[in-house]
Structure formats: structure tokens, C-alpha cells
């Protein structure tokens, strides 16, 4: 791996791509980063002039689905080139080197390109028991992360694991799995999703490469161009929602007609992602299009807001079958019984009180007349 010396254009030429291929790639990269059609010239300029920054890709508590997603980016050149566009100096899954050789490769890059390399992190970091739940080469994940983060020009958290902790971080979180932005004081670009959409990942990396700075982030550290809209708002089934046309069971006629999956527990209304716009697998489909509700995999703590097939999540502390509604109805019934019992008891007592009151009034009648009203 060539360690950030060449520009992307040089690398592509070496590999035998034509100028046309390069321009095509630049247009795609501009589109992927959410830029307008005129931006491809600027992109081409950036890729011609700027040396490729070296990239360190760290893997901690994860399942590698982010890597799997990334290498399936939709544009054919992207799969081939983007891994070259970034000078991927270290990634356990894809690198040829192994053992001490690989570790040396990483530490060389950390030293030689301090303050210049891009750090991509996949997976959460366990913090319980001094981090023994994830160690690589005898060092804890947190140790490795802190070392790599210190000199990084930009840090990207791939997937729900690195952004929010994902399933490792779900209750009761036995390993103390922690999202990386909680461990690092620098700004972290969160790219949540389980996994994130390949084209979104490419878009984020492209943005950093092109502009040499991190994209605009929202209050949860997510790039605005991909995470500012809810899956629900861009969903092609949305008109059915507003019309009150819902799938009632997965095998009913409404499901066949493609009605809204809201009542089947679809998390689209509370999930921010580009699924219904960018879609998956070269823009083929996405879960809702395939008849399954969104499970909200790009949202914080989505594992703790289950079950996935019910609109209302379980109510905390009342067991998996409970909902806010079932708890509420029970409390309402208790209150109704209490009020009824109270009313009955009051009315029994009322008789005696009214009796006494009347007796008192009768006794007082003569004085009563004298009172000046």
C-alpha cells in the first residue's frame, strides 16, 4: 500500500483507467456526497491534485457487516477504486499483512502521517474489567483507539456499534460496550446503521477526501446529508399512512397491497437514515419495500426499544409483554375502582352527616331568622 504519496488520478492511471472512467467516478462521488451536478469538476480537481490521505480502519466489537457493506458500494469503479482512493494502511479484514508486520505497518503510518491520516472505526469499545473483552495484539481496544485517535485528522464511527454501541451496548451491556464518541474528545462523524448503507459510507469518505474537512453534522454527530430525514418521510408507502391504510398482519390483503407497516412495528417514523432514498444493493430495495418494517438500526439503543413487530415498545420494568397502554389501562382500572369505592363510602357517611346538619338547622331556626342576610 502506497501510503498517501500519490493522488487518486495517478493511481487510477496506473491501473489503466481512462480519463472518462475517472470523470465518471468523480460525478458519482459528487452525487454520493450529496452535491449538485456542477460539483464534479471540483471533485475531479481535488482527486487530481490532493495526495491520498492514509487511512487506518480499526475493528473492535463488531461483526464486520460495515466492511461487508462498504465493499459493496453501488458504482462498479467505487468497489475497485475507493479502496485505492484511500490508502488503506491498516484494516484487519482486508489487509494482506498479518501479525507483527501488520502492527508495524499501522504504527509506521501513525508516526509518519501524524495529524494527516483518517481514522475509521468499526465496532464499540468495551470498558468493563479494564477492557479485557476486546484485545488485539495484547492491547485493549481503548488503548489502540486512543493511540490512533490522537493524531487523526478525521475520525469516522462506522455503524451503530461505533456510533451508539448497538447490540453489545443493549441492556445489561455486560462488557461495558461504549460508543467511541464517548471516549474521544475530538469530533467524531457518526455513520450509524447496522450496517450503514454502502453508498452513504462512500459518500462520507468521499466528502472528507474531496474537501479535506468533515461534513456538516447534526446534534448527534451524523452527516446531515444522509441522516437529516426520517425513513418515514421519504418512504414510498407514506401516503398509506396519512390515509390510514395499515397492514394488520403480515399475511393479510393489506400487506399484499403494500399498505403502511406502522402497526406492524415499523420504526420508520423514528429512524433517521437514507434507506428509502438511496436504498440497498445498487438501489434495488430496502426493508420496507420488501414488506418488512424498519427496525430502526441506525438509531441509538434500538435493541432496547423492542419488540420490533409491535408499535409500542415494552414498558421498562413491566416485562416484555407490557406496553405503556397495558400499564395505563391497569392503573386506570385501579383508579376507577378506588374512586367508586370512595364514592360509595362517602355516600354512606353522607346520610349521617346530612341528618346531623338538618337537626342542627332545625334547632337553629329561631336565630336563623334574626340573621341579617
Amino acid at each position: 500500500m502506497s501510503g498517501g504519496k500519490h493522488t487518486l488520478w495517478e493511481v487510477m492511471r496506473e491501473k489503466g483507467y481512462s480519463r472518462r472512467d475517472f470523470m465518471q467516478f468523480c460525478s458519482f462521488a459528487a452525487a454520493a456526497a450529496g452535491l449538485g451536478p456542477n460539483a464534479s469538476a471540483a471533485v475531479a480537481k481535488a482527486f487530481e491534485k490532493k495526495a491520498r490521505p492514509p487511512v487506518i480502519w480499526l475493528h473492535f466489537q463488531e461483526c464486520t457487516c460495515c466492511s461487508e457493506s462498504f465493499i459493496r458500494a453501488s458504482h462498479p469503479i467505487v468497489a475497485d477504486v475507493l479502496l485505492d482512493a484511500i490508502s488503506l494502511d491498516y484494516t484487519e479484514t482486508l489487509q494482506a499483512a498479518a501479525g507483527h508486520q501488520a502492527e508495524k505497518c499501522k504504527s509506521d503510518t501513525l508516526k509518519a502521517y501524524a495529524g494527516k491520516y483518517i481514522l475509521l472505526v468499526e465496532g464499540s469499545v468495551p470498558t468493563k474489567a479494564d477492557g479485557v473483552y476486546c484485545t488485539i495484539g495484547g492491547r485493549t481496544a481503548e488503548d489502540i483507539l486512543q493511540e490512533a485517535a490522537a493524531g487523526a485528522a478525521a475520525i469516522v464511527a462506522w455503524g451503530n456499534c461505533a456510533s451508539y454501541g448497538c447490540v453489545q451496548n443493549a441492556k445489561p451491556n455486560p462488557t461495558g460496550a461504549t460508543p467511541i464518541h464517548e471516549l474521544i474528545s475530538k469530533p467524531v462523524i457518526n455513520v450509524p446503521g447496522c450496517p450503514p448503507i454502502a453508498d452513504v459510507m462512500v459518500g462520507v469518505v468521499t466528502h472528507i477526501l474531496m474537501f479535506g474537512r468533515i461534513p456538516d453534522l447534526d446534534d448527534q454527530g451524523r452527516p446531515k446529508e444522509f441522516y437529516s430525514r426520517r425513513v418515514h418521510d421519504t418512504c414510498y408507502r407514506r401516503p398509506n399512512y396519512d390515509a390510514g391504510l395499515f397492514v394488520e398482519t403480515f399475511d393479510d390483503d393489506n400487506a399484499r397491497k403494500g399498505f403502511c407497516l406502522y402497526k406492524m412495528g415499523c420504526r420508520g417514523p423514528v429512524t433517521y437514515n437514507a434507506c428509502s432514498v438511496t436504498k440497498w444493493n445498487q438501489g434495488t430495495s430496502y426493508p420496507i419495500q420488501s414488506g418488512h418494517g424498519c427496525i430502526g438500526c441506525s438509531e441509538n439503543k434500538f435493541w432496547d426499544n423492542g419488540p420490533f413487530y409491535r408499535h409500542l415498545p415494552s414498558f421498562p420494568g413491566f416485562g416484555i409483554e407490557s406496553t405503556a397502554d397495558s400499564v395505563g389501562v391497569t392503573l386506570g382500572a385501579v383508579a376507577a375502582v378506588g374512586v367508586a369505592a370512595h364514592a360509595i363510602s362517602t355516600n354512606i357517611r353522607k346520610r349521617k352527616l346530612i341528618h346531623d346538619q338538618v337537626a342542627e338547622d332545625v334547632k337553629n331556626t329561631p336565630e336563623n331568622e334574626k340573621v341579617d342576610r
Binding site: 423514528v270 376507577a336 337553629n364
Partner: protein, 227 residues
């Protein structure tokens, strides 16, 4: 021989307080019903295409509109807590004196043990009711905040943007929605107990509690008037 009780009319609830009460009641009823429907939509006609109906969108629209009414009505009442008469002021909601705490115990005895009214109960909100309304105010604002936090991303509402910080604070929108929905049941319980206790206190105190929220007048025995 005890002399008969002479009552005097006291103007307790000024117009803004009464208006607040009934607008609030209406808003809460509307929000509660539409909220339940949004949480668990019922099945209407599936015969028509989506382009020919919009009933669920309309229900949501009513909910959002009522939400605005609810919030601004609340804010006016907060202001009136500083500008209104002694019965409307915040000092009647927050118990600070020893007498206030004694009254809370007294009212608890009346409500739960059903003992007869002996001591003097504040002619405005009784001290227990005042305290509960004070706590309720926070729940009202919690509901407004979570509501606008959920509403914000779907609109250009400034209020939605102002409440945007709630989502990262609570974790995610799914959690915000969960609690916003759960608090709906607080209102159901509150209304049941509130309405019942108004009737109950009307009876045990005999001071016209129920009608006072319409006309504004309550009745106080002359021998208890010196405050």
C-alpha cells in the same frame, strides 16, 4: 348553641384562570383522544385508494394544533401565576409555611380517611391540590417538550427546533415517543381523580367548588374569613 353559618361570596377564579381551565380541559381531551388513535390507529375503510382519503393525517393535524393550543394556554397561565390575584399566584401552589404543610396533612386525612373537615381549608386551591397542580405543570411541560421534539423534524416549526435537544438527551426518538405515549395515561388518571375530588370536596366543604370554575365565585363561612 352554635349560631348558624353565614356564608359570603368570594371571587376566587378570575376570568383568565377559568378560561385557562376550560381551554386546557378541551385541549387535553382532544390531545388524549387523538393521541390514542395515533398510538393505535383503528381500521377504517380499506376499500379506497390512499389518494382518496387522509383521515389519519387529519387526526395528526388535530393533535398538533391542539398541542399548540395546549402549550400557549399553559404559558399564559404561567404568566398569570405572577400577575393574577392571590388565588392564582404561584405562592398558592408551592407549600412553604408550616400551616401549608399542616393543611396538606389535613386534606389527606379528609380525602383518604374521610374524616370531617375541621381545620381551615384554603379557599383557593387547597394546599394539597395546589402542590399536585404544581407537579402537574412539570408533566404538562414534559408532554409539550417531548411532543414538539417529535413534531419538530416533520415541520418547520420553531418550537420543534427549540425542543430538538430532548431527543439526544433521552436517547432516541423511539424513547421520546414511548414516554410521550406513557404520559398520556397520567392525564387519564389525573382527570378521573381530579373530577372525582372536585365533586367530593364540593360536598364535604360545601363551598361551591364545582360551580366556581364556571362563575368564579366560591363561598366561605364568615367566621373563617379573616385571611
Amino acid at each position: 348553641m352554635p349560631s348558624p353559618h353565614v356564608y359570603r361570596r368570594i371571587y376566587v377564579w378570575e376570568l383568565p384562570v377559568r378560561a385557562f381551565h376550560w381551554i386546557n380541559a378541551l385541549a387535553i381531551a382532544t390531545l388524549g383522544v387523538t393521541g390514542l388513535i395515533i398510538g393505535k390507529p383503528f381500521s377504517v375503510s380499506y376499500a379506497q385508494e390512499a389518494s382518496f382519503q387522509y383521515w389519519f393525517g387529519t387526526v395528526r393535524f388535530i393533535h398538533f394544533t391542539a398541542g399548540y393550543v395546549f402549550l400557549f394556554n399553559m404559558l399564559v397561565r404561567v404568566y398569570w401565576g405572577f400577575a393574577g390575584n392571590q388565588y392564582a399566584r404561584w405562592s398558592t401552589f408551592i407549600p412553604t409555611t408550616k400551616a401549608a404543610f399542616q393543611e396538606i396533612v389535613e386534606v389527606l386525612k379528609i380525602d383518604i380517611l374521610q374524616v370531617s373537615v375541621k381545620g381551615r381549608i384554603h379557599i383557593g386551591h387547597n394546599r394539597l391540590a395546589g402542590l399536585i397542580y404544581f407537579i402537574t405543570t412539570f408533566i404538562f411541560f414534559f408532554q409539550a417538550l417531548t411532543g414538539f421534539a417529535l413534531y419538530g423534524p416533520t415541520s418547520h416549526s420553531i418550537l420543534g427546533k427549540l425542543a430538538a435537544w430532548v431527543v439526544p438527551l433521552m436517547g432516541s426518538e423511539a424513547v421520546v415517543r414511548q414516554w410521550h405515549h406513557a404520559m398520556l395515561w397520567f392525564y387519564v388518571l389525573f382527570v378521573m381523580v381530579h373530577v372525582y375530588l372536585v365533586f367530593y370536596h364540593d360536598y364535604v366543604e360545601g363551598r361551591g367548588t364545582t360551580s366556581s370554575m364556571v362563575g368564579g365565585w366560591k363561598f366561605e363561612r364568615e367566621d373563617q374569613l379573616d385571611h
